[in-house]
């Protein structure tokens, strides 16, 4: 039996805007977090890429800023149903980091300051699809949005864009991350509405 509440509509997708299924448009930038905000000093910050053979390469903050910088302009889609269009970021393409390592791995696991992790196919980090970003809207990325640096993979749901990124492990197998262990989809394509296991 369902009880219907007269006059209640809830949040609705803006019908004029082409959004992935089940999403609504927000002008705001909601802060989502599954734990305390890590406080990371750029003096000690590093980003490490580790291959499936155990070899690793690390970059300090200074190294990171010296790499070729890009300015992705993109839409972002959160699995909690909000979408934000035309966002601007500054950062380094994952292609730039991956060029420095030798790998035949198929999968990647991003890990972060704090205990957050997320997994995705290595292919989805390549070919201009992903960045490590340190600025949003031309300002330093604030801690609540993942600063000093986060992963940005806008073609997937935003939980894949791991905040407070610390490194990526390249793996032969898919290793479910924080939300993927708890019911969320291993891939997460918003256009195919891949939110949960089995979608």
């Amino acid at each position: 039996m369902s009880v219907f509440s007269r006059g209640f509509r809830g949040r609705r997708a803006d019908s004029d805007t082409h959004l992935p299924p089940g999403q609504y448009l927000t002008e705001d930038f909601p802060v989502l977090t599954a734990g305390p905000t890590p406080r990371v000093d750029t003096d000690t910050w590093t980003f490490t890429l580790t291959t499936e053979t155990g070899r690793s390469q690390s970059w300090t903050w200074k190294d990171f800023l010296a790499l070729p910088q890009e300015h992705p302009h993109t839409d972002i889609h959160c699995v909690t149903r909000w979408s934000k269009l035309a966002t601007d970021w500054t950062g380094v393409a994952l292609d730039t980091f991956l060029d420095k390592v030798d790998t035949a791995a198929d999968y990647a696991l991003a890990y972060c300051y704090g205990d957050y992790t997320t997994n995705l196919p290595l292919e989805d980090l390549r070919h201009g699809q992903a960045w490590i970003v340190h600025e949003f809207d031309s300002h330093p990325l604030p801690p609540e949005h993942g600063g000093p640096a986060r992963l940005l993979v806008p073609h997937l749901y935003l939980w894949k864009s791991a905040k407070w990124i610390r490194g990526v492990r390249l793996l032969d197998h898919d290793e479910p991350g924080f939300w993927e262990q708890a019911g969320y989809h291993d891939y997460g394509d918003p256009w195919r509405e891949q939110r949960y296991w089995g979608d």
Binding site: S5, G10, R81
Partner: protein
């Protein structure tokens, strides 16, 4: 069973403050509840879309009728509907009563301190009203921190004048105080908790409710004043899940 949803019908409503309203709901078969408990309330749109939020029960058990006081959250999804749109006869669903931790047992005679930040006054009011309904003389001190007089709930029952039946209320306005208040606006301080609350050697049960920041600093102050950690019970409110 506390986990099941029951149909609820709006019987009555009354304004508590400019941005808040008390809703009186009829819930057939309501099993009764203890002061301090809450319900989850669910709304369903015509197309089946649902949204739910938790609300504290503002009044003690009274047959099949429950009362909730809802604060309108700016740009919220549910509260603007409940505060501005919902009318008598409108339907929703509730799940509860919920929460066996943050409850005041009316049989207890131990003194009680109630510390409220803003909308945190709601579950504490259920305790105040339960005490009144039982004609209890248990010592109750209420410390009510709020931004301004326009946001004050339960003005008839929590007046600015002292009571003489064991209930006393201290108001800490944080942004704008009414002209009648000599205290300048500011946050509730540990010294004020010590002065207007109850001393640790009376071993009062302390209930602290409100936004997380208020609860943390107030609970810390109680512990620093010497109240036993097990005597301090907390309930943190926050903005609603996920979306603004």
């Amino acid at each position: 069973m506390a986990g099941h949803w029951r149909p609820a019908t709006l019987l009555d409503h009354r304004r508590e403050a400019a941005t808040a309203r008390t809703l009186v709901l009829h819930v057939a078969g309501w099993p009764g509840h203890q002061p301090g408990q809450h319900v989850d309330l669910r709304l369903t749109a015509e197309d089946g879309y649902t949204a739910q939020r938790s609300y504290s029960l503002a009044a003690p058990t009274s047959g099949d009728t429950i009362e909730l006081t809802v604060q309108r959250v700016p740009d919220g999804e549910v509260s603007p509907y409940l505060v501005d749109v919902a009318d008598i006869g409108d339907r929703s669903e509730v799940r509860g009563p919920l929460g066996g931790w943050f409850i005041w047992n009316t049989d207890q005679t131990t003194p009680v301190m109630l510390l409220a930040g803003g909308a945190g006054i709601v579950p504490l009011m259920a305790m105040v009203r339960a005490r009144r309904d039982q004609h209890s003389t248990t010592l109750f001190r209420v410390l009510y921190s709020l931004r301004c007089p326009q946001e004050r709930y339960y003005t008839d029952e929590l007046g600015h004048h002292p009571h003489d039946d064991g209930l006393e209320v201290f108001f800490a306005y944080t942004r704008h105080a009414p002209p009648s208040q000599p205290r300048p606006p500011g946050r509730l301080t540990p010294a004020e908790i010590a002065t207007h609350g109850l001393p640790p050697d009376l071993a009062p049960t302390c209930f602290v409710c409100g936004p997380t920041g208020f609860v943390e600093s107030t609970a810390d102050a109680l512990l620093a004043l010497g109240h036993h950690p097990r005597a301090v019970k907390t309930e943190r409110f926050g903005p609603s899940k996920g979306s603004p």
